[in-house]
């Protein structure tokens, strides 16, 4: 039968028609795919009906399979599993689905499963699963940690992974890959139709392949593109005075006055700020200069209490708010129809993030998204010009999938061991069917098993190591306390040690980093959720506060990772610089002419095929500045590499600073810089071993180990904000890193830390590409008498410094002392 003649299709399209809607071509295509039990990826922007493309497909399939009694057939078991990265998204989608089901007239139920689901509801779900379950990756794994958890998926027909572009390349994405492999492994031959839903990224084919990999090579993933072009208007906010010696973040707040007229001319506005700390400041600043906005402005970031955030999201939808200052916390998800304007403060660091944020405005099909770019320092105007260019040419970043995440694998094995247990040989095959673990060797698998079964190296004489028990070849965790501990640990999002913030009178405000609060005394005033709060006392992992009327307060700096410029944007940026001088074609470049001229006079403006290097001295010592424009992260690795290679020629200690445009090696002794062969120093020869040597001395692997140790179960965190209940089991990742390095250097999690440094932190592949590009470039060495405009922000921004030394520790300390005594 032709698909459009099936009863399911007819019923659904009739229902759409009753709402004066017509199915889009991509929806029809997806529906047909689902009814044929195919799998694939749907590429559609938010607000284009992507939810319907899978959800209605599952309904059509059900109707077609039960044409007689589809209206009355109840208790069908779980039919559609909907994985979503955000809890808030789940609620919104569930509401829409329930409404549709009611109108169409089915007996289906919709359930939500996440960290907030009540115990009562959980028990109900276990007795009888709803036909549709909306779930987060973490809760999905929690279900697998239940006894007979896999039984809940017995009747599953369709699995949707929403916002796959956001999960791909993260450990949560790996959790999804593993969950799919488990569901399919339990149901051979496979009968689940798997659908990813993704916004546009550079590597859509790969994104589809990763998701469908456990289905086997026989299945060619289908990619369905929604042919919906979104119009985007980018407007730069030009500062009144373009400083010639800019430094990051300096300008931002001064520009706040410029946003007021934009807010006033718009229906409702989202202001995206890159960090939580700055968003607090912006919120206060806007209220100071535009008090008339009181009551119509709200703040939204990851440390604000969940209920308050949900209220804010709801208030945007119902137009109670005119403006919301937010962070990446609002990047994803729910549709806010009233929003017609977005303001991006500071560099978005990548084209796709910028587009995603732009897309939060003008949500309805056919509407134009309007985004204002507000630079936090004048050089960022260059980025605005580059972003415009990128959007024009459709140059969007890829998301690289992760491979061989042993921490996630160890956690997953324990998850299954807590549930029904696993047979190692069978699980090995299943795990290997995922994209992430396709290259898992037998040896590595044995290391993983060894790690969880006997806690590392061979058992010694007196050892109480205890975790897994083997029963007829089945690996199980039987001790209740260990099982409980593990269930609390499931997940791959590792947060800093956080404390709850509460009013003395009761009322929960949000979370704050222990690191920040430990530096405050009773009576100090700080800002959270837009309020000034006086610290009264810290007890039981809770910060008790009262309202304060103090004018001055301290804004917490949350230690979220700093975002780095993408290779894609870096490339366009280099190109933009090439033609910057005397180029008045865009408003941004016109306004930067003075700064560019100073850069040109004092030093040089690098062309696309040039690598600019500056060398100068100041009272801070000697500064070697290199400008590859590859983003902070690549610069971190490249600077360590260069420092290491120079220090092999003569003993010298550098301290390193960087931003997205370049990096600085700062030393207290002078270098004969003309004698250095920079091309040789930045060659790809021996890259791997040199990188490994250069990072050995740095903090990178140690920092990576933090998350790995938590995910891999070496650090028991408990629930965020809750007091550590396990007595005498406290340790920190730095200490663990040290003892593993000294006493079990081949530990599988330690190895992973170094691998992650190489692949993610150093971005080895990207770095190699960058070095190859540099080999083809001309090195331009300048010795300016003063700091150039390009160097200034790097010099000022000394926060992210690493040390790398080839000098003996004692000598180094002595030198520091001499300096201190002067």
């Amino acid at each position: 039968m032709h698909f459009e003649k099936t009863p399911g299709y007819k019923i659904i399209s009739a229902w759409l028609q009753s709402k004066k809607q017509k199915p889009f071509a991509f929806q029809k295509e997806a529906w047909e795919g689902i009814s044929k039990n195919e799998s694939g990826l749907i590429n559609a922007p938010t607000g284009s009906g992507k939810t319907y493309s899978v959800f209605l497909g599952a309904l059509i399939r059900f109707i077609n399979e039960n044409p007689e009694n589809f209206r009355t057939k109840e208790k069908n078991g779980l039919q559609l599993l909907w994985v979503t990265p955000l809890r808030a998204l789940g609620q919104d989608i569930a509401r829409a689905m329930e409404e549709a089901i009611r109108e169409i007239g089915l007996a289906w139920k919709v359930g939500i499963r996440n960290g907030d689901t009540s115990t009562n509801e959980r028990v109900k779900q276990k007795r009888g699963m709803p036909e549709i379950l909306l779930i987060t990756p973490e809760s999905m794994h929690l279900l697998l940690a239940q006894k007979e958890g896999i039984q809940l998926f017995k009747y599953l027909q369709v699995m949707a992974i929403d916002e796959w572009h956001d999960l791909l390349g993260t450990k949560r994405g790996v959790q999804i890959e593993l969950a799919i492999s488990r569901l399919l492994g339990d149901r051979k031959p496979n009968k689940i139709s798997i659908w990813g839903i993704s916004a546009t990224i550079g590597n859509l084919e790969e994104a589809a392949e990763v998701l469908m990999y456990p289905l086997g090579m026989a299945t060619v993933p289908k990619i369905i593109k929604a042919d919906i072009q979104k119009k985007i208007e980018v407007i730069s906010v030009i500062p009144d005075e373009v400083e010639n010696y800019p430094w990051a973040g300096h300008l931002g707040l001064k520009m706040a006055e410029k946003v007021i007229p934009i807010i006033e001319a718009s229906n409702s506005t989202l202001i995206f700020i890159n960090t939580r700390g700055m968003s607090e400041r912006w919120y206060q600043r806007i209220l100071e200069i535009a008090p008339q906005l009181a009551g119509q402005i709200a703040l939204h970031h990851g440390s604000i209490e969940q209920e308050l955030r949900l209220w804010v999201e709801d208030a945007i939808r119902t137009q109670k708010l005119k403006v919301v200052v937010c962070t990446a916390s609002l990047d994803l998800g729910v549709d806010f129809h009233p929003v017609d304007t977005v303001i991006q403060v500071g560099s978005p660091k990548g084209v796709s993030r910028f587009l995603q944020r732009a897309g939060r405005s003008g949500h309805k099909p056919g509407q134009t998204s309007r985004i204002y770019f507000l630079p936090t320092y004048s050089l960022e105007l260059m980025e605005a010009a580059a972003l415009k260019k990128a959007i024009e040419t459709g140059t969007i970043e890829s998301r690289e999938p992760l491979s061989l995440c042993f921490d996630v694998l160890i956690q997953y094995c324990c998850t299954l061991a807590v549930g029904d247990g696993f047979h190692p040989d069978q699980l090995f095959e299943e795990v290997k069917s995922t994209w992430c673990f396709q290259d898992l060797s037998k040896k590595e698998w044995e290391d993983v098993l060894l790690h969880i079964y006997q806690g590392g190296k061979a058992l010694s004489q007196y050892d109480d190591y205890h975790k897994i028990e083997i029963e007829n070849g089945l690996y199980k965790i039987k001790k209740r306390r260990l099982a409980m501990q593990h269930r609390l640990q499931i997940g791959t999002i590792v947060s800093e040690a956080m404390l709850k913030v509460k009013f003395m009178t009761g009322g929960y405000l949000g979370m704050i980093e222990e690191y920040f609060i430990s530096r405050l005394k009773t009576g100090d005033v700080f800002t959270l959720a837009g309020r000034n709060l006086e610290l009264v006392i810290i007890k039981d992992m809770t910060v008790m506060v009262r309202k304060s009327n103090a004018k001055k307060s301290i804004v917490p700096s949350w230690m979220g990772g700093r975002m780095s410029l993408t290779a894609n944007l870096g490339h366009i940026l280099r190109h933009t610089f090439q033609n910057a001088l005397n180029n008045e074609s865009t408003e941004e470049l016109k306004n930067l002419q003075h700064l560019l001229h100073i850069q040109h006079e004092v030093s040089h403006i690098p062309a696309e095929n040039e690598l600019l290097i500056e060398y100068l001295s100041s009272k801070e010592g000697f500064h070697l500045l290199v400008y590859p424009f590859e983003g902070r992260q690549v610069h971190e690795a490249m600077s360590a590499l260069l420092a290491y290679r120079i220090s092999r020629q003569f003993p010298i200690t550098f301290s390193i600073a960087m931003n997205d445009y370049g990096f600085e090696l700062n030393s207290d002794t002078e270098i004969q810089v003309e004698k250095l062969d920079f091309k040789a120093l930045l060659s790809t020869e021996n890259l791997l071993s040199d990188i490994q040597h250069s990072v050995n001395n740095t903090e990178m692997a140690r920092r990576k180990f933090r998350d790995i140790a938590v995910i891999g179960g070496l650090i028991y965190q408990g629930k965020p904000g809750e007091q550590m209940k396990a007595r005498h089991l406290q340790s920190n990742s730095g200490l663990l890193f040290k003892v593993f390095t000294d006493y079990e250097p081949d530990n599988i999690l330690l190895r992973q830390a170094y691998k992650e440094v190489l692949e993610q932190q150093m971005e080895e592949v990207r770095m190699r590409t960058a070095l190859e590009r540099i080999q083809k470039s001309t090195v331009v060495l300048k010795k300016p008498d003063q700091f150039s405009p390009l160097s200034f922000p790097i010099i000022v921004d000394g926060l992210n410094r690493n040390n790398l030394s080839s000098e003996k520790m004692e000598e180094r300390i002595k030198k520091m002392q001499e300096k201190l005594l002067q």
Partner: protein, 216 residues
Amino acid sequence: MNEIHFEIALQNLILSPLKVAYWTEQKALLLADLHLGKSGHFRKHGIGIPVEIIHADLDRLSQAIKKYQPEKLLIIGDFCHSRANSELEYFTEWRDLNPGLEIILVRGNHDILSDSLYSKWNIKVFDGIYETEGLTFSHDPINWAKHFNYVLSGHLHPGVKITGAGRQKITLPCFAFGKNQGVLPAFSIFTGLHPIKKEKTGQYFAISTDTVIQLL
């Protein structure tokens, strides 16, 4: 290996990079925060910490005994980490090899083992403050009063931050001596560092691999 001779309250101490101090007048080896059995405690709870840690700590203790030939060993608290586990058998073996040594423990917050174990190992245990003729010992730093001698403590796991030109910084374990009280570094390798604030009147000795360095 480079150690430092240091005089405080008319008593002579040798500060050793082995993270012990040798008290010459009393022929006593001083140390704090051995946290014996910590790795075993973690392992018992399903966290696979390397098993070598306890051997490394006990080996270093033997090394210090061999070098200074003390008559007694004075542990200023946190001798053992938590409740008993099998790993402590290694200490029983160690004790059998060093039977003549007098061991004194000033109880710390982690010392929760049953008294029978201490008597099995022939360890004298003191609660709170332990006073001798020359010095006073307390696991936690105390509210110093005039009738006390100079007080030596542990508990803090002190680390000292050193900064210098080129914005370099590094934190090292240290001995810290104030006007009336001093703190010893944590002995065990499986302990973290707690950065302390340097005071003008204080004297600080950082430990860097096999050297003790006085900070000026």
